[in-house]
């Protein structure tokens, strides 16, 4: 295993990432258990309300991830380092995962609560649009083979897509306001609120862990690609 890493010229996954991973797992389980034990059945939704402890943190984490993509895209244009591009891409991938999770759980929650899997609520609709914008980002990366070009293009998309997020939010909000009332989120009692923040903290850790892990994998992939390229140019395949 060690030999493989040294052949690739990349350090094995740092012990810190593994430590963070274990800590995140325990924290996440703890936060979920606390959320489950601690909060009484909601008067309206019953225990269904507990979906909120994953759904909302996942949505927040996804949004934060796209913000990281935005920042790292700008940083890429300033510094032109491959690592900045890889962090931006890792964040976008994790953001799509988190947003997808939030959408799926929103549907599962919506069916018994609203009676429908989908409603054209501003929050839901703009989250779905954001999800699709970053699916496009990932698709473009998937189809672009040349590394430097892929980095430039995806940085451009990472910037424009995030600029659009508030515009999408306001326009959809305004539009859905014309058609149907917003789903109201009645003010939550303190215990729900505390549990929510605890789980949001757990998801923040999860976000950092996922991005760090994905970034490390991207580094490995890149070094393998560079290695293969160098070998191909040298006309030997001893490393393959």
């Amino acid at each position: 295993m060690k030999d493989l890493y040294s052949a690739a010229g990349v350090a094995p996954r740092s012990a810190y990432i593994s430590l963070l991973g274990w800590f995140t797992l325990l924290f996440l389980i703890g936060a979920q258990v606390v959320g489950y034990m601690n909060s009484p059945a909601d008067s309206g939704m019953g225990h269904l309300q507990k979906i909120m402890y994953v759904h909302v943190p996942a949505a927040w984490a996804g949004f934060l991830a796209f913000f990281i993509t935005f920042v790292m895209s700008i940083v890429y244009f300033v510094r032109k380092r491959a690592s900045d591009d890889m962090i931006a891409a890792a964040a976008a991938e994790v953001g799509v995962l988190m947003t997808g999770l939030a959408l799926a759980l929103g549907s599962i929650w919506g069916r018994p609560t609203w009676g429908v899997y989908w409603t054209w609520d501003a929050r839901l609709t703009s989250t779905a649009i954001m999800f699709l914008m970053y699916i496009g980002y990932l698709a473009l990366r998937g189809f672009t083979d040349e590394e430097e070009r892929r980095a430039r293009w995806s940085a451009a998309i990472g910037i424009l897509a995030f600029l659009n997020v508030p515009i999408v939010w306001w326009s959809v909000k305004w539009w859905s306001g014309l058609h149907q009332p917003q789903s109201t989120r009645e003010s939550m009692s303190a215990v729900y609120w505390n549990n929510l923040w605890l789980n949001a903290a757990a998801f923040l850790l999860l976000l950092v862990f996922f991005i760090a892990s994905r970034y490390h994998v991207a580094q490995l992939e890149r070094s393998v690609e560079l290695r293969l390229e160098a070998d191909a140019l040298a006309g030997s395949n001893q490393h393959v």
Binding site: F143, A156, I157
Partner: protein, 226 residues
């Protein structure tokens, strides 16, 4: 400045000339737009009451689905025989390429709209004559934003294998605010009752146009450099 304006004009004129000489392209896209309108009309059972409600949306869908076909083409021409590399070698700001192509694409999409709107007016029985001017304003604003982002994203997608599916996948989610604003402004004009609403949505269109014209213009340099 005359130099830069001259370059922009030269690129726009070159693209439009190529388009004009390849006559079939415009005709195909325009007929395709008409076909979309016909099919949409039949899909909602050609019911006049339904059509009156959904016509603004159908009209803009026809514009977006047919207009998107022109953006990739505008770069594909440059990829033959290394024309793009030659274009990049010319002195001057590379953003001139973006602005030039934007103007040419705008002219193309605007021409498609000149066909689409009257056809829709006939098929869906839309009273457009007395609102021709404000309607033209809404289409102007909507088309600027559409073409700005279309020209920008096609600079990337046109060079990839999956260009046909990738461009709409990238472009359409970005265009949602524009689509909502354009459809609602058009609808307000057609229903005649909410003139103020058309104005509000037109402001959304204008803000969208300014933000993405500026963003695409600034970032284009990084997208095109080789």
């Amino acid at each position: 400045m005359t130099g830069e304006a001259g370059r922009i004009f030269a690129i726009a004129w070159k693209d439009l000339t190529a388009e004009r000489r390849a006559k079939s392209n415009f005709a195909s896209v325009a007929f395709f737009a008409g076909l979309i309108l016909l099919m949409f009309g039949m899909a909602v059972d050609a019911d006049n009451d339904t059509l009156a409600v959904v016509a603004p949306g159908l009209l803009w869908m026809a514009v977006l689905f047919s207009g998107v076909l022109c953006f990739n083409r505008s770069y594909e021409r440059e990829l033959e025989a290394g024309a793009l590399d030659a274009l990049l070698l010319y002195p001057g700001d590379r953003r001139s390429i973006f602005v030039g192509k934007l103007i040419a694409n705008f002219a193309f999409v605007a021409l498609v709209e000149v066909v689409v709107v009257p056809v829709a007016a006939v098929l869906y029985r839309l009273p457009v004559a007395h609102i021709a001017l404000p309607l033209a304003g809404v289409f102007l604003l909507g088309t600027i934003g559409f073409v700005a982002l279309g020209t920008f994203y096609a600079a990337m997608s046109s060079r990839l294998r999956a260009r046909e599916v990738l461009l709409p996948l990238l472009l359409f989610p970005m265009l949602i605010p524009l689509m909502l604003a354009a459809v609602n402004a058009t609808g307000a004009l057609l229903s005649d009752s909410l003139m103020g609403d058309a104005g509000q949505w037109s402001k959304v269109l204008a803000v969208f146009d300014v933000i993405f014209l500026a963003a695409a213009y600034v970032v284009f340099e990084y997208v095109i450099e080789e």
